[in-house]
């Protein structure tokens, strides 16, 4: 290797290696554990209908809102039975991918 380049350290199985790190590795997103009560947008789109209210009891599999994306009316369902804790969006909102729309507990 030429010169006195500063290398970073990568730990593979407890051995520390001096090396360059790839952009992909350095920019990787930290892992977010899945919360079963979260209803998130799996695709960017527009909220065209919301069927539940905060405080309402709902059952697993119940459709909570419609996310219009790619010319499809996507029916987003709750993964759990429980109470609607918080609704973060209103009808007509445009949402990015992965936004937390409704929290159920």
């Amino acid at each position: 290797m030429k010169g006195n380049e500063e290398f970073k350290v990568l730990n593979i199985d407890f051995t520390l290696y001096k090396t360059r790190l790839s952009k992909k590795f350095e920019n990787r997103k930290p892992y977010q554990p899945l919360k079963p009560g979260s209803v998130t947008s799996f695709i960017p789109g527009t909220i065209t209908a919301i069927f539940v209210k905060e405080g309402q009891e709902i059952k697993e599999g119940e459709v909570v809102l419609i996310l219009d994306a790619m010319k499809m009316q996507n029916r987003l369902k709750s993964h759990i039975s429980g109470k609607v804790k918080k609704i973060n969006v209103k009808k007509g909102d445009r949402v990015a991918k992965g936004e937390l729309l409704i929290e159920i507990e």
Binding site: M1, I12, Y17, K18, T19, R20, S22, P44, A69, K97
Partner: protein, 514 residues
Amino acid sequence: MTIERKIHDLHERRRKALLGGGEKATEKQKTMGKLTARERIEALLDENTFHEYDMFVEHDARDFDMDKKSLPGDGVVVGTGTIFGAPVAIFAQDFTVAGGSLGIMHAKKITKIMDHALRMRIPLIGINDSGGARIQEGVNSLYGYGEIFFRNTLASGIIPQISVILGPCAGGAVYSPALTDFVFVVDKVSKMFITGPEVIKTVLGEEISMEDLGGARVHSEISGNAHFFAKSEEECFAQIKKLLTFIPWNNSRKARMFEPAEPKPEYEIGKIVSDDPSMPYDVRDIIRAVADNSDFLEIQEMYARNIVIGFGRLGGRTAGFIANQPAEMAGVLDVDSSDKAARFIRFCDAFNIPIITLVDVPGYLPGIDQEHAGVIRHGAKILYSYSEATVPKITVIIRKAYGGGYIAMASRHLRADFVFAWPTAEIAVMGPEGAANIIFRKEIAESENPEETRKKMVNEYKQKFANPYVAASKGYVDAVIEPAETREMLLHALEITENKHVSMPSKKHGIPPF
């Protein structure tokens, strides 16, 4: 008409055809910094060797007033010629004619030259510069793409197929290059994507420039779709020519032999690798220290840099090099590097190119993102490709070869023909630190000075296992060699394996973990 008049008439027809989309469109092409289709072909082929066919093909579309439009050659130039005296078939889309859009006759010209290339067993080069499907021709243009994709697949592994992206290549059109062996891109000129920035904006509300979405750099660095990146069309053509010197015309031939040449003296093989096993070095210096003329043509240089692939020669024979790169991500195997190496192994195997593998691998990259991205499935591709390959496989273990990485990197167990190891090699299940932590967990935890005990145990493990001799004692390594002996050992191994013949169990085809 007299013969003279008829010949004059032919000349007149040719002259018109050669104008392509006309002066205005040609000028526009130039202002975009692009050469015309025929200029590109001429720049790429040996002088005066291009022979054009189907110059007078015309479209027969009738809808949307297309019957009133004449499109010279239907927007694509096809023919044959030579590169360094070797025959090639070539097509180049002509952006000056209806934006190089693909209609049925355009596609038929391409599929005809593809059939020709396959029948004649000569390499096929496709220059892509097209706005996409010719919408006026409807499903007929889809027929055209499908027929091209089918032939790309038929020809795969029989003749080398090269795609050169010198303009837009969008929508379904991208799949022909994706099915070919090598994709060449030029900075600021090449644009490849399935859905363009406008559609992405309307459908998803995300804004991105064409360059950031599917420019040459993106495909060379991030997506891995491109294999060679050039700053200009001229540089790109030089790269294509050079690549063709390393590969054979077809799968029943070998690459042509060159005059053997010694490596350049500035690459001193004994001085590249540091004594400290955690210190990086550029593995390409080792390749250059063993290759004829120190000439190494790297492929996918910017993508998954933790593995290096490319062509060089030893004693005049082409070899495909695959090497872990300790300077990048410690040379780990991960999703991208596995894909990159596996595909290259299959190219070499299909085209009778011996594979030389240089090993310095700490293992697979740990991480949630890697596991979730399917490092199991992707990592398996390397195992599959090496196991399946029947070309000569020669392996040199430079330094560490740990665990699954050791097995994957063309180990004896995947039927390497020769496995050599440098005295610095450490062939073990894992690195000394990790191994000692596991084996001596109890001793370390229960001792009065755990840190000191741990060091002692790591040292003990190092002494015992961090060397090539345990593997050599089982015959998994054929010879432990000095770095300075590497080139000679490789030259000899290539000679010995020249007529290698193995037969694999007969089957329709395997199911690689795509």
